[in-house]
Symmetry: C2
Subunit: 227 residues, 2 copies
């Protein structure tokens, strides 16, 4: 379903090139549960952004469900992204003027759902993530871990085909982190492809397939070992 071949990303800083990712070859099937680990600065967020069509590669190809999405214009990219991906950002990107409940509701509004149905789904999501009594708080009135959970609820509420989570437990205590991971794993049980970037080895090891990134390159892929 996701096929990256020879994918690379470099950033230009003045006349300096930063090779954030090089020669990424990766095939991810529908319903897989994959973790990506690696040192700070190794390219994990960059890779996640490319998969979720939030950014364009500098070289290589990206086939999504056999369709080449590498050369799409911005509008098509945005549409394919909305239809396929739920993204939990490393730093959340919540809308400052909206409450927790309103932030979570945004994807449902974009999808054209009815108010009554939206209300019910937002309630359910908030209950799952322990946010019911913070529903009316705006992001600056929430703790770090509460904002993180709002971001996760928002990313998952539409049951997208693929959920990408960039360090989803970085601001959570052990107990809350485990609850969040188990909720994400439940979605994976329902058939949703789950891709987690994490610095927590306990969480990374829990995935059925584990990828290691160092200096912009994949150095380990447990799917390759089995081959």
């Amino acid at each position: 379903m996701i096929r990256l071949s020879g994918l690379g990303k470099e950033f230009l800083l003045g006349d300096q090139r930063v090779h954030a990712l090089r020669d990424i070859n990766l095939r991810i099937g529908r319903g897989e549960y994959l973790s990506i680990m690696g040192p700070s600065g190794s390219g994990k967020s960059t890779l996640l952004n490319l998969i979720a069509l939030l950014d364009r590669p500098s070289n290589g190809d990206y086939l999504l469900n056999d369709r080449n999405v590498t050369g799409l214009d911005d509008d098509s990219l945005a549409r394919v992204r909305r239809e396929n991906f739920g993204f939990v950002f490393q730093f959340f990107h919540l809308i400052p003027r909206l409450t927790a409940a309103e932030n979570i509701e945004v994807p449902l509004i974009l999808a054209g759902q009815e108010p009554r149905q939206r209300r019910a789904r937002v309630q359910e999501a908030m209950a799952s993530y322990g946010l019911i009594d913070r529903a009316g708080h705006r992001p600056d009135q929430l703790s770090g871990g509460q904002r993180q959970r709002v971001a996760i609820a928002r990313a998952t509420i539409m049951r997208p085909a693929v959920i990408l989570a960039d360090e989803p437990t970085g601001n959570l205590d052990q107990t809350t982190g485990k609850q969040v991971i188990s909720l994400l794993e439940q979605l994976n049980q329902e058939g949703i492809t789950l891709i987690l970037v994490t610095h927590d080895a306990a969480i990374g090891e829990h995935a059925t397939r584990r990828i290691k990134l160092i200096d912009g390159m994949i150095t380990e892929d447990t799917a390759e070992l089995a081959a």
Copy 2:
């Protein structure tokens, strides 16, 4: 040196009161090494902000070196804060238009240090935190963990009397996280009071004194056990 008595903080949301902290009694001596752990939303960041004079309590008293700092005006508060505290924010608060090096340099400029001395100290700080080849990057051109390290370098570069770090390894891999903690512990060895909020039990247990916060109240304080 830090004496909190009956300290409380509540937020007003419309007509609702959120009791973020209640009846905090805490004495922290010079040179102590203290960790604060607790569930997401339990009041850790709020407590750290009160100690660092970034916020005012709703009730109770705060004596800093025997001086009551509870009722100070904004300018005096800012001066006492700058003279005593180095703060690593949970979400960094770097200045977007400045490079990594310039962000780290800010406290030195505020302290009136000479350019040559500033350059040397910034170089040393960047070397310690593995940021030398990211010196010219702005925050949006850095990875999450690189931004976190810039925030830590900035908070520690003036060797303040007290360093408060709000989840300083939340975006770091194991190895980088350990390096960062050992640098902070070295500063503590030099006599600097170190207060760490963390969700990482391995890091929390490493402190000589450990405090647990639940629902805005201190439920455990290893200093009390010894008494």
